[in-house]
Assembly symmetry: C2
Homo-oligomer: 301 residues x 2
């Protein structure tokens, strides 16, 4: 199961009633944080989520509203007892930027590792496979897809054909491999092909380009910025490298995603729900994200 | 008149219901901000105060809970239309630290100026005279006194003795000087000695040392940290370079201040008022600070 939580849904400025855009993905006791603007540590405390299990922090880009909360967040992770290394991944320059802003957070009780990403870079974080992809913004900006793969179904006929005794089947399923009669057997030898897993795609800040459609393809959940909903804001969206609700919905439609959550609202958008019908007229399965919105994605047969 | 507002009163960690410790002093359309932890820009929005008139930001020290909100705060000042230079003052290294954390806030629409301070450094910010003084913490840490001086009373006898016509008296009072009959007259030539002004002293984070007593002397308002109120926390206070409510109250008593406001509570102190009686038994005019607490200090004859 993959649990997705929107910690904040605001763009540009933290507001009294809306935290800056960030998201937490949790699976089997491990978590990934996407972006960390000012106040993200408080936003997280407002949910049922925990800091300590965060192994990977994916940064979309280096604008302050997406990264300025990092020094305080890391210090608080230390206070919560984190000791294992934490990887911070992001666009080119991630290590220099993070080290620069963390000059006020020396002596963390855990190691920071860095991973520079570009278009189509893949990395693995526990059970999740992460793919970075390029968006189009005023600075280099990455979106992320998170895949939780699902193993194929166990096939008893194949196991019997290999003369494996029933007593070791469960071990082979659980461990993924077993040595028997001086030979190594792996799970793929006793199972059918891989089944559909679960996929989440996350994209802020960007204009609606084809590369997003490609990477969001068939996602169970597509989380995408909608800075404005009024069509008359298109000039501003183009100028600042953002998108409208309707543009996010167009991507959702073209990508055949199961559902779209909007996020990263302009401070000028006081009630995000007001523009929802515009997006739904393009892609019916659109919902407005809000701080604390949560979903458990489970495997479907 | 000097308006003092506590923007936040929390120490170490920003909490859901308590912003990190910072303070705004406003006088005649100009303001000074003391410290800027994560979320200070939101804390300010919760009050009736404005960002744009802030000419000086005084940083006490470089621990994240006192400075990590600066990049976002400065960006928001730019969004609010600030164009005049802003001075950032603090301990040795202030320019390097601020430039480092502001790598994510490039292209501000106003100039940043820096002023490195040490014990007893004085600077002027519009009508206010600022004096930095050293505390005793785990890193170099400064407290600040803010003086709003008050001119002496106009003395008509002196003005008449100088043969100055009544028609120019008000100009001389307003402008502070006037050229008449080819001679320069200054206000001190036509006034009695300077009267008591208004003084505010601010101190976090520090152990209770004599230097604070010296600088807080006769303050109308002394704002001081009280990380804990329980006497059994004294070991922890000493170890981390902080003080108890009772120690802040002792300084207030020795300095003959008019009133003490406590601030910078530990996250473990859920109700600061619970410990107030302890402080009041030492110094009766003690009050617990809280986010948004405000006071107008006026000249008293």
């Amino acid at each position: 199961m993959l649990e997705v939580t929107l910690l904040g849904t605001g763009g540009m400025l933290p507001l009294k009633n809306r935290w800056l855009t960030s998201c937490l993905l949790s699976c089997e006791g491990h978590s990934i944080l996407v972006d960390c603007g000012e106040g993200t540590q408080i936003a997280l405390k407002n949910t049922n989520c925990k800091m300590k299990p965060i192994d990977l922090i994916c940064i979309t880009h280096f604008h302050a509203d997406h990264i300025s909360g990092l020094p305080g967040f890391l210090l608080s992770m230390g206070n919560e007892g984190r000791e294992a290394p934490v990887t911070i991944a992001g666009p080119k320059g991630i290590e220099m930027i993070v080290k620069s802003i963390c000059v006020i957070a020396p002596n963390l009780p855990f190691e920071l590792k860095f991973q520079e990403l570009s278009d189509n870079t893949k990395l693995k974080s526990n059970d999740l496979e992460v793919t970075a992809f390029k968006g189009e913004h005023s600075v280099e900006c990455l979106g992320y897809s998170f895949d939780l793969p699902r193993k194929g179904r166990f096939n008893a006929v194949k196991a019997k054909a290999l003369n494996l005794p029933v007593s070791i089947w469960s071990v082979l399923q659980r461990e993924g491999q077993i040595r028997y009669d001086n030979k190594l057997y792996t799970y793929d030898m006793v199972s059918d092909g891989e089944r559909n897993g679960v996929k989440v795609t996350y994209c802020t800040d960007s204009r609606p380009i084809k590369n997003i459609v490609k990477h969001a393809k068939n996602s169970d959940l597509f989380i995408c910025e909608g800075l404005y909903y009024s069509a008359d804001k298109i000039g501003r969206a183009i100028k600042t490298g953002h998108m409208l609700y309707s543009e996010a919905a167009e991507i959702a439609k073209k990508s055949d995603v199961k559902r779209l959550w909007l996020t990263h609202y302009s401070p000028a958008v006081t009630d995000p729900e007001e523009g929802l019908s515009v997006a739904k007229s393009v892609f019916e399965q659109t919902e407005c994200g809000y701080d604390g919105k949560q979903l458990d994605l489970i495997f479907v047969n």
